[in-house]
Amino acid sequence: MTTVEKIRRINMNRVSPELYEAMVALSNAAAKDIDPDLAELIKIRASQMNHCAFCLDMHTADARKRGISEQKLTLLAAWEEAGDIFSEQEQAALALTEEMTDLTHRHVSDAVYARAAAAFSERELGQVIAMALAINAWNRIGVTTRLSPPHR
């Protein structure tokens, strides 16, 4: 799991600008009709699982700007153990995000799907799914091209 910077990786914005534009459009489509705070939690949790440093740096900063508490950010990786710090909607969305992100190990279970379907309208649920897969796509680009967060 150690990463040593030895090889310079491509800049996707430069070599595949159409992809970058399409990704921004995907993000915009996913951002509709979803609570922005919830969206940040989804993005951070997926980025933790996918080990995208750039994405974590960006979205924790965005989350703080939105006023998400330090406690929530600190506990997010262990949200299931955090009692009622997270709302039922947040918990349902995070469980769904985790299963969607972990696709290689399992399917999206009926129990997790049903929990999310009970907590959200169909439209909201569709947008939660859209948000989870959009950040998964960004994570893959960020990790593959080894985007590094800026020092602050």
Partner: protein, 156 residues
Amino acid sequence: MTQTLEAKTTVDRIKIYKTSPELHDAMMALSNAAAKDVDAELGELIKIRASQINHCAFCLDMHTRDARKHGVSDQKLDVLAAWEEAGGLFTERERAALALTEAITELGDGHIPDEVYKRAAEVFSERELGQVIALAVTINAWNRINVTIRLQPSTR
């Protein structure tokens, strides 16, 4: 394990392309962007391998048929899940792209190792490499949608 891998449908899942039509449009645009400047046969191999790893039945059904239409041999399709053990059946470009696709798909298990990246960077131009990555990212997104909404292939 058997239980979690069993795709038993007891809960109706949403028709996401109806409830989130913008998502469908955005995904189509993403697919079109990723399809440029990539050999179509190679594109199908990338899509099938990611769909195998992500267990997307609908995607496998669709892309194995597309691959056959593009002239990809049955032998390649049969052996794709074990391409590393298949000797010279796959070209070096195909092998480099498949190794990179597997790393991109299995992101939860690690990073993209330098040797996997380097192997791909050696056989593809920067533009081609960008498009191989784009294809792997895009099929991963389709896999996530279709597994989540449990889209199933029609019986033929």
